[in-house]
């Protein structure tokens, strides 16, 4: 074998920038980068030019100034003297709150509707198709407005007043009004921490029991009942502790006071409207995902499991769902993303999410358009990236092993 060398390294010629695969890519990238930098520089110089001409500047100082407006729904202490930054935090938490609630209910709704749509019951499956198609094909904004109008039709608190009131509370405990839903709220007395500990322990107990049952199944083949013992473990100690400790937690019932109900816990009507609208709208999409996921599991899987003697419920739990979930969860998570993004329409029903506080009132009261819009986008971007990161983690963890 003769020793050969590489092709003679010819000197660099400018034409190689276009014709040589090694440099061509670099050339293109360089051009793209230069164009990009120019574009950005152009926009930014315009920005500063325009700002200077209008005598404005970019400054985030306004975040420290007092906001001056009130917010009806807040998870952290806030009043009109708090800063704009705090108002933004209130809005942020409200966005997260409604998104979180809507994700849960939309999932429930979607899973139920998706499964029912596959039901062999003709009527039910038709009904679910109508639900899915109706909600999927109409803009979410219209649904938010419609549902917002719908909850307005609930009775006013006034209707609960007087001898022959036209509306009445459910079980004397729950009032559905067009200002919000009032439910009894807990009042914590002495010893409630002990109760909490007991409750937490029972939850741990249930988990332990389920572990034990599975282990026992593996060890001996005996299947222990799950539902009743779990319930017992969950409830009995807490109930006992509740009475032994002398009812450390009591309920505060809502009562009509002044213009509105007082006491108890109030869930504001904007929250309810937005929550409901996002849930039913997204639920329709999730229903489709669920249906597609279940259909994606080959029919052969069910048959193979059945011919091994597994019962329908076990087939669902052990064979179909684990596979369907792989198909369902990625689009499900992007639906969660959509919920979060769609919650920015909150202002249509008067819910104080971040778009309404930071991107609405603050923007408007301070006139700091660029600053607030940038902050707003940044916030949504962070949520989206966080959710996508979770999704990627999930995807790589469940990816089926292939050759």
């Amino acid at each position: 074998m003769a020793i050969h060398t590489d092709p003679p390294a010819s000197g660099f010629r400018p034409s190689m920038l276009i014709n040589d695969t090694r440099y061509r890519g670099l050339t293109f990238q360089f051009i793209a980068l230069v164009l990009l930098i120019f574009a950005i520089a152009y926009l930014v110089s315009n920005l500063f030019g325009n700002l200077a001409a209008a005598g404005l500047n970019i400054s985030y100082d306004f975040l420290g100034e007092s906001a001056g407006y009130d917010i009806n729904q807040r998870l952290i202490p806030y009043d009109s003297q708090s800063t704009h930054l705090r108002a933004a935090m209130v809005g942020l938490l409200n966005t997260l709150l409604v998104a979180f609630l809507a994700c849960i209910t939309a999932t429930l709704l979607g899973v139920i509707a998706g499964i029912l749509r596959l039901s062999k019951n003709w009527l039910v499956s038709r009904l679910m198709s109508i639900y899915v198609e109706a909600f999927r094909n109409v803009p979410v904004l219209i649904w938010i407005l419609i549902i917002g109008t719908m909850v307005q039709q609930l009775p006013q608190p006034n209707a609960f007043r007087g001898e022959n009131a036209s509306a009445s509370m459910l079980f004397d405990a729950v009032a559905l009004t067009n200002r919000g839903i009032y439910i009894p709220g807990p009042v914590f007395g002495a010893g409630w921490t002990i109760l909490l500990v007991v409750a937490l322990l029972s939850v741990a107990g249930v988990v332990a029991y389920r572990r034990f049952a599975l282990k026992r199944l593996y060890d001996t083949g005996r299947i222990l009942p799950l539902v009743w013992p779990s319930l017992l473990i969950l409830l009995v100690p807490s109930v006992l502790a509740f009475f032994i400790l002398g009812r450390p937690v009591t309920l505060d019932y809502p009562v009509l006071r002044g213009f509105n109900f007082g006491g108890g816990v109030q869930i504001g009507v904007p929250l309810i409207a937005l929550w409901l609208a996002l849930s039913v709208y997204t639920g329709a999409f999730i229903a489709e995902n669920v249906r597609a996921g279940i259909l994606a599991v080959n029919r052969g899987q069910t048959e193979a499991a059945a011919s091994l003697g597994l019962r329908p419920r076990r087939i669902m739990n052990l064979v179909i769902l684990p596979q369907a979930l792989r198909v369902i969860i990625p689009p499900l998570i992007s639906q969660y993303l959509n919920i979060t993004k769609n919650s920015s329409l909150a202002i249509a029903v008067g819910y104080a999410d971040i778009t309404a506080t930071l991107g609405g009132i603050t923007l408007n009261q301070t006139g700091r358009a660029i600053e607030t819009v940038l902050l707003l986008m940044l916030f949504y971007l962070i949520i989206s990236l966080a959710i996508s990161a979770v999704m990627n983690l999930y995807n790589s963890s469940v990816a089926l092993k292939e050759r």
């Binding site: 001056g68 009130d70 307005q152 006013q156 006034n158 509105n260 609405g360 006139g367």
Partner: protein, 317 residues
């Protein structure tokens, strides 16, 4: 400069409210009408000679300032309160008050409330991004009572919420309340509470920095006010302008004496056109929000100074 832009374009871009009866709202045929709208038309007439050469740009409380700042509109005539920070920090120029107003509360009669101080614990509908929103917070804080805001974006929404009983009271400029109430099926079932909790001088505004343009708008408004004072109406303006009369100020205003028009870069009959567009201040008031309209507002503070009001146009000299 804005004036050149407007002339070149041939239309005036005027920001107005998305819909507040009496002040600015499209009628069934889609033509904009109202008190603020008339201001736009007067400026268009003064500048372009054609009161219909206006492109109305509806704005919400939220979008109005950015629309003006970004140059999308040439002026904003949209029941906007003249405040310090809007004038200075937001870099606008308010060109003069066209309606002296204050914030009030609208409540259903059946509620039995007679004073705003009785509103402890009430639910209040409030347009976001307005001065009234801030006043509201101040008022309740000062009186140490609580309330729950229901934020709405537009007048229409506020009305919808209020009528549905989603709030106990609706608060905004008293004029706005009157306009709102006027559209109710049974206006008599609702009262405007006696307290006026703030000063709301409503004023048209333009971008800061273009003083020539600001002057044009400012003096158009003054022309309308002065016209009323001098008894010039849309009916007699052409007649009066035809020949110089014996009132030198009127002569100057109508272009028969001096060259005021030239000084602001317009033709000399600019004021004639402005007044001809919709009449003088008083006429506009009566036609759009006055006592004989459903809105039924009395002149009150907005009467001429000669009648004990605050309207007081600087002299045309």
């Amino acid at each position: 400069a804005t004036l050149d832009d407007v002339k070149q374009r041939g239309t005036l871009n005027c920001g107005v409210v998305t819909g507040l009866p009496g002040f600015g709202a499209p009628n069934a045929n889609g033509e904009w009408e109202g008190f603020d709208v008339s201001m736009c038309r007067a400026v268009a007439a003064a500048v372009l000679g054609d009161p219909t050469a206006v492109q109305f740009v509806p704005t919400t409380g939220k979008t109005r300032f950015t629309a003006l700042a970004s140059g999308e509109i040439d002026m904003l005539a949209r029941n906007t309160t003249w405040t310090f920070s809007r004038d200075t920090d937001l870099k606008f120029d308010f060109i003069g008050v066209n309606y002296y107003d204050g914030q009030g509360f609208l409540v259903p009669k059946a509620l039995g409330v007679t004073s705003a101080k009785d509103l402890d614990g009430a639910t209040v509908c409030i347009q976001t991004g307005t001065t009234t929103e801030l006043n509201l917070a101040d008022f309740f804080r000062k009186n140490n009572i609580s309330y729950e805001p229901v934020p709405v974006e537009t007048q229409a929404e506020g009305q919808q919420q209020y009528l549905a009983g989603a709030c106990d009271t609706y608060t905004t400029d008293a004029s706005g309340l009157a306009a709102t109430r006027a559209t109710f099926e049974n206006p008599g079932d609702h009262v405007i509470l006696p307290e006026i909790i703030s000063k709301e001088p409503l004023a048209p505004l333009v971008r800061h920095g273009d003083n020539d343009w600001a002057d044009i708008v400012r003096w158009t408004l003054n022309a309308l006010i002065a016209a009323e004072e001098m008894g010039i109406t849309s009916a007699n303006v052409t007649e009066l302008a035809a020949s110089a009369g014996d009132n030198p100020e009127m002569n100057r205003l109508l272009g028969n004496e001096g060259n005021l028009g030239e000084m602001i870069g317009l033709s000399n009959d600019w004021a004639v056109k402005a007044i001809g567009a919709g009449g003088n201040y008083g006429e506009i008031f009566e036609k759009t929000i006055g006592e004989n309209t459903p809105i039924g507002l009395a002149r009150g503070l907005n009467a001429q100074w000669t009648d004990g009001g605050l309207l007081y146009s600087p002299p045309f000299r």
